[in-house]
Every structure is written in structure tokens, then in C-alpha cells.
Amino acid sequence: MGAPFLIGEAMTGGYGAGPDILHDCTIAVDPGEIAVIVGPNGAGKSTGMKAVFGMLTLRKGSVRLNGEDITALTPQARVGKGMGFVPQTSNIFTSMTVEENLEMGAFIRRDDFSDTMAQVYDLFPILKEKRLQPAGELSGGQRQQVAVGRALMTQPSVLMLDEPTAGVSPIVMDELFDRIIEVARTGISILMVEQNARQALEIADKGYVLVQGRNAHTGTGKDLLADEQVRRSFLGG
């Protein structure tokens, strides 16, 4: 097996000139795979993902996409390279319609993106119904669909999701996970941070348990779910 498609390897760093939050942390994902970062509060889960996306300064380590070193690129440049990012909060344009949100997602594309928009509408049929409504008027789960849809508009090869199910009901959460699996089936790599560790690991090909900015456990989702120590410490038995 060769090097992973996207890998943040041995990352050490923090926000700006602040103290290090990540210590020698490695996160990787392959095409069509779902990789999930879980761990206790303050473990640096979101920070780890932001590091992969270039939102903090790395003092050590590197990020490589498809073999290319992208450590020095800005987040915007990484979007151009095929990475899509859905922030945890403020991840939609609330005053704009659903359709305009998707158009803004495709802002860097100069070609005709109506096909991609149709695909997003196929994936999230409710968005097609509400496409002329301001996105701020939608429910929490629908907003998350808009946010994911916006990120898909650039046709990314990697989609990064920061707690996509934060603040939605369990039913909506299951539905969102189903959609995320569907996205992964189209060949897009998914890297996501999740609070709902058990459900997330159930759909994960790869799981990373972070503790205090370090890799505590790494394995397939199934392995981690079966691991006695992981169960005891993070999954509540």
C-alpha cells in the first residue's frame, strides 16, 4: 500500500504564535474512505483538522495531498487544490438563498456548474425544494445539508467536516451520516470530527482517537469500537 491520499504527518503546532496544541499528530485518509477524529473535549480534534486545512501554523510535520506537499499553502489555495471544508459554525450564508449559497460554493469555478448543482440536489432533495428560501430560515439539519452542499460545489476530492451533527436531533444525525456515506461512495475522501463517537466510528473506515493533541489510538472504526481501552475511556463502556 502506498502513501495515503491526504495525510497530515507528525503535525506539531498551534494557533498563531500561541502554544502548541498538536503534538506529533498524524491524520490520514484515502479516496472514498471515511476517517473520523474523536476524543474527549479539548483533545484538539477540530484543531487537528484545521491543521490539515492550513488554518494554523505548523512548527513541525507536513501535509501532503496526493503526494504533493501543501504545507505552505493557504486554506484558499487548498480549496483550489480540491479540498472542501465545512466549518462547525457559521458555515452558510444565512441571508442568501439556498441556491445562492451553492453558487457561492462554486465561486472559484469558471465553468458551467449546473451539473454539480443537480448532483447536490439529488443528494439533498429537500434543498431543491427550498432552493429559493434564505438559508437562515432552514432547520438545523437542513442548514448542515446546505453547508455540505456548498463545500461539494467545487467538486472536491476531500471533504472535511467539523462536527456536522452538532446540535441536530438523533434522527437528523442518522440521516446526515447516511448522506455522508453516500458522498464517500462517489469516491470523495471524508475527514470528519465528531462528538458522537460511537455512531461516527460505526461508519468510519479509519478512526483517530486524539488525547491532548496526540494520537492516542488509531485503527479501523470496528477495531476502535472493539478496543476495550477505547470503549472504557471514550465510549462510556
Binding site: I92, F93, S95, M96, M104
Partner: protein
């Protein structure tokens, strides 16, 4: 019945027609303020003087055109001079942005720093305008003065009261409608306009989507320069141009933008008309209107002028206070101040 018509005509002549054109001028001014607030995220105190600068550029161009014998028939020559005025003002705006605001943007300064910086810009522009054209009153309206004069209206209708509609008032309203329609089309239908709204809505996500902030800033200044120049020129045509008056316009313009909801273009327009109608109605002596409407015995002895015109700014101020106290986000739910 005739009394009622006469009352309506008096009201139309002295309140409605002037308030509509004044409201349109305020709305255009407030649109500029609200765009800067929504996209660049600060209250631009230099806006009144930007309008003065733009109008000055238009006046100088008008004089130039007149001296070589170019006119616009029955319409004011200033309309022909508008594009030049807009271009000069746009250059000044972009220069100011490069010289002043960009520095603070890169330093990620807090909004209040921008406000104070804009205050400095205001003083510089203030001086610049007075230096070039002087502090005095300038009249630059030419062409046909009336669309319909009070005398013509009286002979036409046989009523006792006349309704005069000045060409500049009609031009104000027509130009304002065209400008507003164009602006809304741009903001809602074009890719660039949408990217400006996206930037105003959620700056971080706009950056993530690949929207170039510097480009948004440049286009915002261009639009603001055009709005300020047009608003100032229409006001100057309708009344007269005096730098100090334009500086004073800052209050009703800000009141209009805040009443409508800062950051909301639709609100700026509504706010402009609210302020204009309030100001004109409250400072106009309503004796004549009431004289026609009420029985003779009830005819008011006083002028029924609620406020002297010297205090007209108090009207904007009071409305501003009421809105800030009871509905801080304005009529159209803009950003709270």
C-alpha cells in the same frame, strides 16, 4: 370638495413633492452608508463630504461643458457631467482606501478605529472641497426650471392653489429609481454582486469560497463613489451646493440608514423616505392645509408649524433615538449598532 382638493394640492406642493425628492436623495446617500457598513464594516463619517466632493467635480465639469457651449437641452447639463464626477470621486475613494483604510484592514483594526479614521478622511475632504471650490453657495442647475409651474397648474385646474413640480424634482426621482433598480439587479443577479452579499454576510466563509476580499472592497468603493456623487448632484440641483450643508446631511443620512436597518439596502431606501417625510411635515406650517379642511370657526390662529426649519435636524435625531431605543436593528432587521 373643492376645499379638500385645495388642501391636497397645498399639501402636495409644500410637503409631498419636496419630501419625495428629498427622500430619494437621502435614500441614495443612505445606500452608500449602508453598503460600506455591510461590506467594509464601519460607519463612514466621510460620506457627506464624499457627496460634496463628487458634486464639486460635477459642478466643475458642468462649468467646463457650459463654457464650450455644450448643454443638455431642457435637462440640466450636470447630468452630462455625472460620469466624469463619478470617475473623479471613484479615483479619490480608491486612493483613500489605499492610503488609509487598507492599512487598518491589514492590521485587522476594530470598527471604531475605522470610524475615527473616516473622521480624519472627512476633515481632509472637507478642506479639499473648500480649497478647490470655496465655502460659498453654488447654483448649477440649468435647463427648464419647471415641469409644471404653480400658475399653469392653477389655470389648468381652476383651483385656488397651485402645484409646482420642478424639473429637478422629477429628475431626482427618475434617476433614483434607475440607480436603485440597477443596484438591486447588480447585487441580486450578478456573480460579483452576489459575492459582495456573501462577503457582507459571512466574511470567513466568503474567503473559504475563494472570494477575493480586495476585489469586493474595490467594487464597493466604486459603487459608493457613484451613489454619493449622484445623491450629492441631485441634492445640489434641487437646492444648491454648499459644502457645509453636505456635511450636515450626514445626520439625516445616517438616521435613514439606521432607521431602515444598517446593512440593508431596502431599509436605506425606506429610511430615507421616513426621515424626509417626517422632517418636511414637521417643519412645514400646516395652517393653510388645515384652513381648507376644518370649519371656519376651527381655523388655527397660529401657523401650526411644529418645529422651526432651523431645528430640522432635531427630527432626524429624535427618530434615530426612538429607533435605537425600541428597534435597534431598524425596520428591515439590519445589523444592530
Amino acid at each position: 370638495m373643492i376645499d379638500l382638493l385645495n388642501a391636497l394640492v397645498v399639501l402636495g406642493n409644500f410637503v409631498i413633492v419636496p419630501a419625495v425628492s428629498y427622500g430619494a436623495q437621502l435614500a441614495l446617500g443612505a445606500l452608500g452608508v449602508t453598503l460600506i457598513y455591510g461590506i467594509l464594516r464601519f460607519s463612514n463619517f466621510a460620506h457627506g463630504d464624499t457627496m460634496a466632493f463628487g458634486t464639486m467635480a460635477v459642478i466643475l465639469t458642468t462649468w467646463g461643458l457650459q463654457s464650450i457651449g455644450i448643454g443638455f437641452g431642457p435637462l440640466p447639463t450636470a447630468l452630462l457631467a455625472l460620469p466624469v464626477g463619478i470617475a473623479v470621486t471613484a479615483a479619490l475613494m480608491l486612493g483613500t482606501d489605499r492610503l488609509v483604510y487598507r492599512f487598518y484592514r491589514r492590521a485587522k483594526a476594530v470598527p471604531v478605529t475605522f470610524v475615527i479614521a473616516s473622521l480624519g478622511v472627512m476633515f481632509v475632504m472637507n478642506g479639499l472641497v473648500r480649497f478647490i471650490i470655496g465655502p460659498d453657495d453654488q447654483r448649477f442647475a440649468d435647463g427648464e426650471r419647471f415641469l409644471i409651474s404653480a400658475r399653469d397648474f392653477r389655470t389648468l385646474t381652476g383651483l385656488d392653489e397651485g402645484l409646482a413640480i420642478r424639473t429637478t424634482q422629477v429628475i431626482t426621482v427618475v434617476v433614483a429609481v434607475i440607480v436603485v433598480a440597477a443596484l438591486f439587479w447588480f447585487l441580486n443577479k450578478t456573480r460579483t454582486g452576489k459575492s459582495m452579499r456573501a462577503f457582507s454576510d459571512n466574511e470567513d466563509l466568503a474567503l473559504l469560497s475563494g472570494i477575493n476580499p480586495e476585489r469586493v472592497v474595490v467594487i464597493t468603493w466604486l459603487i459608493v463613489a457613484a451613489l454619493a456623487t449622484i445623491a450629492g448632484t441631485l441634492y445640489g440641483l434641487d437646492k444648491s451646493f454648499k459644502p457645509f450643508t453636505y456635511f450636515q446631511l450626514l445626520l439625516p443620512i445616517f438616521a435613514a440608514a439606521i432607521v431602515g436597518g444598517l446593512g440593508s439596502p431596502l431599509g436605506a431606501i425606506a429610511g430615507g423616505f421616513v426621515i424626509a417625510f417626517a422632517e418636511v411635515t414637521i417643519t412645514y406650517p400646516l395652517k393653510k392645509v388645515l384652513g381648507y379642511l376644518l370649519p371656519e370657526a376651527w381655523e388655527p390662529a397660529s401657523l401650526v408649524q411644529l418645529l422651526s426649519t432651523d431645528y430640522k435636524f432635531a427630527v432626524s435625531f429624535v427618530i434615530l433615538l426612538i429607533v435605537l431605543l425600541f428597534r435597534p436593528t431598524g425596520l428591515f432587521a439590519g445589523k444592530s449598532v
